[in-house]
């Protein structure tokens, strides 16, 4: 029992130390949030579990401590990251993807596409004509209205 508790204590200390090391070395608020909260959650959790073995009289309270840490720490990190993003804290230069911002961007793009489609049904009707645009030489004589099609086909 004591050995299990001491191993858990050592694991907890190592994880707390590594979490703080990441807090110093990471380039960004969000990366710091990642290391500083997840690793220290695991560290505090296993230190609380070690109290169950090393201090059996306080097993219930130690379990309560572990449950509280597991529930509360992700909530705190979520709130921190959300308010950092909405306050306009920039991502690090090395970041490769910003899914929240990309979502807003693609939503704006599809809105713009829908607006174009709604405003000009003629131009949107010409657009599919461009796609099989290899044929217009063969069909051009048949469609008098299709005069615009070869032009747009050359433009594309």
């Amino acid at each position: 029992m004591t050995v299990i508790g001491q191993i858990l204590l050592l694991i907890g200390g190592i994880f707390l130390f590594l979490g703080s090391l990441g807090l110093v070395r990471m380039p960004d608020v969000y990366n710091r949030l990642q290391t500083g909260t997840k690793a220290s959650t695991l560290g505090a959790m296993s230190i609380g579990l070690s109290a169950i073995f090393l201090l059996p009289g306080a097993a219930g309270k130690a379990l309560l401590f572990v449950v509280f840490i597991v529930l509360a720490n992700p909530i705190a990190s979520n709130t921190l990251g959300r308010s950092a993003y909405l306050s306009g804290v920039k991502l690090a230069d090395e970041s490769v993807s910003d899914e929240w911002g990309a979502q807003d961007e693609s939503a704006a793009r599809s809105d713009a596409a829908r607006r174009d489609a709604a405003s000009g049904p003629a131009s949107s009707g010409a657009a599919p004509g461009v796609a099989p645009g290899a044929i217009p030489d063969a069909v051009s004589g048949a469609a008098p209205g299709g005069a615009a099609d070869p032009k747009s086909g050359k433009g594309a």
């Binding site: 200390g13 707390l16 130390f17 979490g19 500083g36 230190i47 109290a51 401590f65 921190l80």
Partner: protein, 83 residues
């Protein structure tokens, strides 16, 4: 083993205080203070194991609750203030 754990926790607290002092933005400091409160709660649990006093675990629990509430309150306050 407890000494090693205490040394590791002390080093972790030192690195976190470094980030707390240096952190470029406000939210870096908030992240550091949140981590520091968790480290402090874990430190109190280790002290309770060393001196074999069960009531110190209560202190750690209350310390953790206070740190969590403080972090969430300050983060939401600055979210409100930034709008």
């Amino acid at each position: 083993m407890m000494t090693i754990a205490l040394i590791l926790i002390g080093l972790a607290a030192l690195l976190t205080v470094f980030r707390l002092i240096k952190g470029p933005s406000l939210f870096d400091r908030l992240v550091a203070s949140d981590t520091l409160s968790v480290i402090g709660a874990a430190f109190i649990v280790v002290i309770a194991e060393i001196v074999q006093t069960t009531s110190y675990v209560d202190v750690a629990l209350v310390y953790g609750i206070a740190g969590f509430l403080g972090t969430v309150t300050i983060a939401r306050f600055f979210l409100r203030a930034s709008k």
